[in-house]
Amino acid sequence: MKKALAAILTLAMLFSLAACSSGNGSADEGEGATEPRNDLTVILSSEFTTLDPQKLSANASINFCSNIFDGLVALDEENNVVPMLATDWEISPDGLDYTFHLREGVKFHNGNDLTAEDVKLSVERFRDNEWMAFASFAVDSCDIVDDYTVTIHLKFPYGNFLSMLWYCYIIDSDHYNSLSEEDFARNPVGTGAYQFVEWAPAQYVTLKANPDYWNGAPHIENLRFNFVSDSNTAMMALNTGEADLSFGVTPLNYKQAVEGGKLATDSTTGNNFYYINFNCDRISKEVRQAISYAIDRETFNVVINEDTGYLSDIALTEGQEGYTTDLTTYPYDPDKAMELLEQAGATDLSLTFYYDESSANTKMAQTLQSQLGAVGIELILEPVESGTWWSTFGNGDYDLSRSGYPMEAANTDSCYYDMFHSTGSFNVSRINNPELDALLDEARRELDSEKRNEIYIQVNQIMAEEAYYIPLYFSASLLVYNPDLQGVHALTSQNYQYKDMHW
């Protein structure tokens, strides 16, 4: 009897809770109809470890911080370099010195003026922090010319320098000097459209509009970023109106949102390139080519991305330096794969596949296992947590693995050098090809874009012929948002600017 009563009470409580939450939702909608909202709740799928703009380790936090900080320059949506805190600049004839003229009258959120002193400190921190080496490797030093002019000296003439300079956010030197490194990482002060309010680790970050923003005040007053790592939970929050925007939902959830029709959706090509990489120290060219024929990329795209990804034979998109269709491709042909394996004398192969455990990677592993199984290769799966995965890359103890790389929209050099040069920090295929190294070195120092293009085409042809990795796809950049929100569309870089959004 008591149990029955308890059960009824529990049910009653559940229903009343459900009623409460739906009641809140409708109240919000009612308010929205009468006067425009001035707040926006965004879901971020991963938490940051720091808000120190020169120590940001992930794209997500780099993009987030572009709302608090400005760089000297920025990339527009067509990937052109446009002025930000620098109004214009001169490049010395030898390509080594860049002189920037700063925008005058720009103030940091704490009221301090932007001066050359701040830029010098920012550039030096940008250069010295290991995290930023992928963008700052060419920087040698920074000199103050006058209060509103600085010169950045490069170690070597680097044609792509400006396209990487947006990663260098400008910080306030007085603010930096008054705080310990630790406090500085938790109290970002920039010149951006939004100023930092509060950060509750693992829960949320709040920002408020900077009314004095030099480039026009933002429309929406209060921003709140909730950390929700689970995509299903994020979808639920979007559906109940608890959150307004998310660009981190899984393809499956995206499909649900499109079919559901209640939420607005948008998608475009993303900049994350995914591939299966060989350990070239262990696997010969013949076997690599054979395995490449055994892979049906379409299946990977369907199983992992619900067919939202963009298949690609090359780690570049059309229009980038080095993009070409004139290269060796490996269409799905299991019979040919088996034939090649036999020719290479590699029957009864047993290989290991290392990957960091995640839903998408588990799907990839199982699909790969099944496809290689079909050509008689036994694939042993070695799922590890991501820390172990990284150290395994270091010591090369794997046959195959998978990786994703956030490609630069306007710079082939930085990614290619990182991924494919024998000294690159992300050379997960363990490529060691002197010819390739020479070409990449040459391209890095080549100032003429046309010539660089030709070198990278050559690089791509060599890599495709050698089958150093199996290109899969560019993931899609998916966006799910409240249909009342205006001025928003999916971006390849996912570098969303909340300043332009309004209700």
């Binding site: 299903n232 499956l252 959830n253 199983v303 588990t362 099944s370 199984g373 070695e382 799922p383």
Partner: protein, 301 residues
């Protein structure tokens, strides 16, 4: 004369003893069969074990891993009894073959931890003294750690794989068995018949093997069956969070984890392995309770 008497008396005594044992066994089964829920558990478990053992006779092994993206997320139908998952694999085949994995893990972990627990427990209970003190303090420390967390850290240290999972769970469970067996052995060592055996000059080995271990079996069987369902769930939990059994081996916990993200669109992907875990654990629990009641001398009528 005395020899003759002994020879004459022995068969009669022996028969009487046999009768007693037989009656005892019979009584155990009778009591077990009177317990309707235990019988239900036994029937369910028999069906599950039967299906698992005969799986390869009526479902081809390939059906477990064959992927076909043209039949992704098919709802349960005649061709696919439990539907298909995101790879287009037949969930029914995976659940049935998964029973082999789950039951194998559960039974072997119980066997290993029982054996280890028996050695340690008998050692502690019979020898006592410093050995007992040291082992029991270690056991105490082990038992302070939540079982899931403890086995998780062992798997994390050892790496993935079914045998490593079995080893990890066995290590986690050994202290529990050691405790129960030690307590039983301690109560037995003070019994009169042990004293008598000792007075007759029986060796320690003889006493342990002939008198102590046989009398421990009751509690061990009860502890083992009751823990069996816990083993099934612990193994499933570890696989759920990606520790333990590695693909393509179908494991219920791993299947649940894979189906989690499509739970709303294709509920059968989680429903089938979820129900399999629940039904198996339930049947083992019912049977375990039944065995405990049947073996409990206080329940004798």
């Amino acid at each position: 004369m005395t020899d003759e008497k002994n020879i004459a008396a022995k068969p009669a005594e022996w028969e009487l003893e046999q009768d007693c044992i037989e009656e005892e066994r019979f009584a155990f089964f009778r009591r077990l069969c009177e317990n309707k829920t235990a019988v239900l558990g036994l029937i369910l478990l028999t069906i599950i074990v039967g299906m698992a053992l005969t799986a390869s006779l009526w479902i081809p092994q390939e059906a477990v891993t064959t992927q076909d993206i043209s039949v992704r997320f098919v709802a349960p139908c005649r061709e696919f009894l439990f539907g298909t998952d995101g790879f287009g694999r037949d969930i029914f085949a995976r659940v049935v073959y998964g029973a082999r994995v789950s039951l194998f893990i559960a039974v072997s972990t119980i066997a290993i931890s029982c054996l280890a627990g028996l050695v340690l427990g008998v050692g502690c209970g019979y020898l006592g003294g410093k050995f007992d003190a040291i082992v029991m303090r270690i056991v105490d420390v082990f038992m302070c750690l939540p079982p899931l967390l403890f086995s998780l850290s062992i798997v994390a240290a050892l790496g993935n794989g079914m045998w490593k999972l079995i080893l990890a769970v066995s290590i986690t469970m050994t202290p529990y068995f050691t405790r129960v067996i030690r307590a039983t052995v301690m109560s037995l060592t003070s019994m009169d018949y042990i004293e008598a055996a000792r007075a007759n000059g029986a060796t320690h080995m003889h006493i342990i093997l002939r008198h102590i271990i046989p009398n421990c079996l009751g509690p061990i069987i009860v502890e083992a069956t009751i823990n069996l369902s816990y083993m099934i769930m612990l193994a499933a939990s570890l696989s759920f969070i990606g520790m333990g059994v590695v693909s393509p081996t179908p494991e219920w916990g791993a299947m649940l984890s894979e189906g989690r993200e499509v739970m709303l669109d294709a509920p059968w992907v989680v429903l089938a392995p979820g129900l399999a875990i629940v039904i198996t654990a339930l049947s083992v629990n019912l049977l375990g309770d039944g065995i405990r009641d049947a073996l409990d001398p206080r329940m004798k009528r």
